[in-house]
Symmetry: C2
Subunit: 369 residues, 2 copies
């Protein structure tokens, strides 16, 4: 069977950069927050090699913003996450697990203070706006909750600083990891953060006003010709090597932040009043029953992991793998899985039902990237 | 450029019927509620012809259920919709616009009473569970809100009654439009409704427990061989001819139910206490500023409508088209658009920017199908 096509419709929203993405010959998309997210240009493997060696421009407009604006904005957001937000500032992004009343993950966004009393929650793939607004509307918070015209553009790869400094000036080099600030592009003070969904270094530019998107896109490509700049996107191989979790793939509403290895974002003090705090406090006290772990799957390259692959110990299911692919650099199949406590120690030998093959696999000490 | 492929991942969830869909040679998917929805088997045109002449089995598992269960379930749901739910019963589905505090559409689902104090909200493409649960968690309603293992399977087309009666018995023929009941399949009392996303007649079977999905799929194909049964899916041409609105295409959170022509589902009595009631009452009093209308676009077949097409009167924008395609049966381009009050009368001649062409178009009296 040929790989399936994606049927276009307005519902699968185009982005301010879609014309540029198409001109660069996008071969495949995924759909993320009801929007097109380019996934492949040359091939997953070639895009991976290029990302690790050069610099890429990523259309990650699908990281939509839930804007919470008003005098009660921070108070509302603090209710939504177990992370302590007291150190939020205009110069710093924060990764915040968002949990429901049972401590289940609703999203794992990045929080940014865009202006006084104005926050952007830069979301993974779920309609978090509905939860935020449901809580806001039901509790009489003095806020407005909306999706603004803001589309992040990623610049990722080892030459990101060189490219960005040519377009935004040398001061952009001074941003620390998850630091952010305003930088001028053609008279627009754009919010730029040192962040992004790879571990190759890079930035995300929060483009306010889609109409100027292609000017920035074109400027980055013009400035980066000698840096071998190309269009790219979140890369399956690189993100698994690097242990970057994907909401909807590696974790869902059925998982707590602690199970996802996000315990350092869970503040004991916050657990007394955030949604799901009691459940998370109990889990912290007793220890998690399962945890996300890096797993090496042995043998030849596995086929595409498009569904849960059960993991077994002596024939009993003890976990599942949700992301997996062959890594050219590490010469093994790299994978992300959720494994029961009795089997999650590094070095534990297990088996995985990978598509139609049973494969030996081993829990790793850490991710590869 | 070749049409883009869809990158597979666990996040784009497979369904209990995906193996069957692939065996039938699915050519294209869309993504709907984070799940695969087959859109094309032979071609959009051939699938359309077949749907109107024969019978198709549709994998519409992506119509996920938001299950609201508990003593406060109906009281909570009544807060979420302007429709009067006092006549809900186990024998009747209800189409319910769901609105936020400003009267904006969050979803346009079908509500079913699956058991006493257990309701399924069968959703269009948005994570309505987040809104329902946000309201529930914030107001102390005694309910649980979850997505159960329920996957609708559609049987659509003029021979639907013949096929369904062979599998579920002749009594299924007695269901009236939007009537529902329990019918036996291999010892499972399955919830069946006379409903579906076409106007060719048909049913939706709410398959509880994905593990039995393929047995039902196979039974339908075995029973329907001489009826020329095939796999199909919501068909772009047929649904526009028939005026079946698509959430995310033809309406979003920016639109009220009244603008969407859903005023007959808005009860004046409910407006005093449902979310967005005040805004809808004001709109009803003053009249809507714009409304969804059927529109014929003249000339040759238009290209695929994958973004908003602005509609003009004497060079001023007076609306937008969000769904459009060539209709073989009506020999015109059929379209759905949102048009300002001054221009929405049937017969009004307008112009539309359809991709790179300006085309004359005319507001129609009614949809075609």
């Amino acid at each position: 069977m040929n790989p399936p096509l994606l049927s276009p419709s307005r519902r699968l929203r185009r982005t301010p950069f879609s014309d540029g993405v198409e001109a660069q010959g996008v071969k495949a998309y995924t759909v993320y927050n009801h929007m097109l997210l380019p996934t492949v240009f040359e091939s997953v493997e070639n895009d991976y090699r290029h990302l690790k060696d050069h610099v890429q421009v990523w259309d990650v407009s699908c990281e939509r913003q839930v804007e919470v604006k008003g005098p009660d904005a921070l108070r509302l957001i603090q209710l939504l996450t177990p992370r302590d937000l007291s150190k939020i500032s205009a110069n710093r992004c924060m990764y915040i697990p968002v949990t429901d009343q049972n401590g289940g993950m609703l999203n794992d966004p990045v929080l940014i203070q865009a202006a006084p009393d104005t926050y952007w929650i830069s979301i993974a793939d779920s309609d978090l706006l509905m939860w935020v607004n449901g809580v806001a509307a039901s509790n009489g918070f003095d806020v407005t909750v909306r999706e603004p015209d803001v589309s992040p553009l990623g610049v990722q790869g080892p030459k990101s600083d060189d490219l960005m400094s040519r377009v935004f000036g040398d001061s952009v080099r001074d941003l620390r990891f998850f630091g952010c600030g305003r930088f001028d592009f053609q008279g627009h003070a754009m919010l730029v953060a040192r962040s992004g969904y790879s571990k190759q270094g890079g930035f995300e530019i929060y483009v306010e006003d889609g109409a100027i998107g292609m000017s920035l896109w074109d400027a980055l490509f013009a400035a980066g010709q000698d840096l071998n700049v190309r269009a790219g996107g979140p890369n399956l191989i690189e993100r698994i090597e690097s242990g970057l979790l994907s909401y909807g793939n590696d974790m869902t509403r059925d998982n707590s932040p602690l199970e996802c290895g996000l315990g350092h974002f869970v503040s004991d003090v916050q657990l007394s009043h955030c949604f799901g705090g009691r459940a998370m406090a109990e889990e912290r006290a007793t220890g998690s029953a399962q945890m996300i772990r890096p797993i090496a799957i042995h043998g030849d390259p596995v086929s595409r992991c498009d569904r849960i692959w059960p993991v077994y110990a002596q024939g009993m299911q003890v976990g599942q793998i949700t992301s997996a692919t062959w890594s050219p650099d590490f010469q093994t199949n790299v994978a992300i899985g959720m494994i029961d406590r009795a089997h999650w120690d590094a070095g534990t030998a297990l088996e995985v039902q990978a598509a139609d093959q049973i494969r030996p696999c081993t829990v790793q000490d850490k991710f590869w990237g």
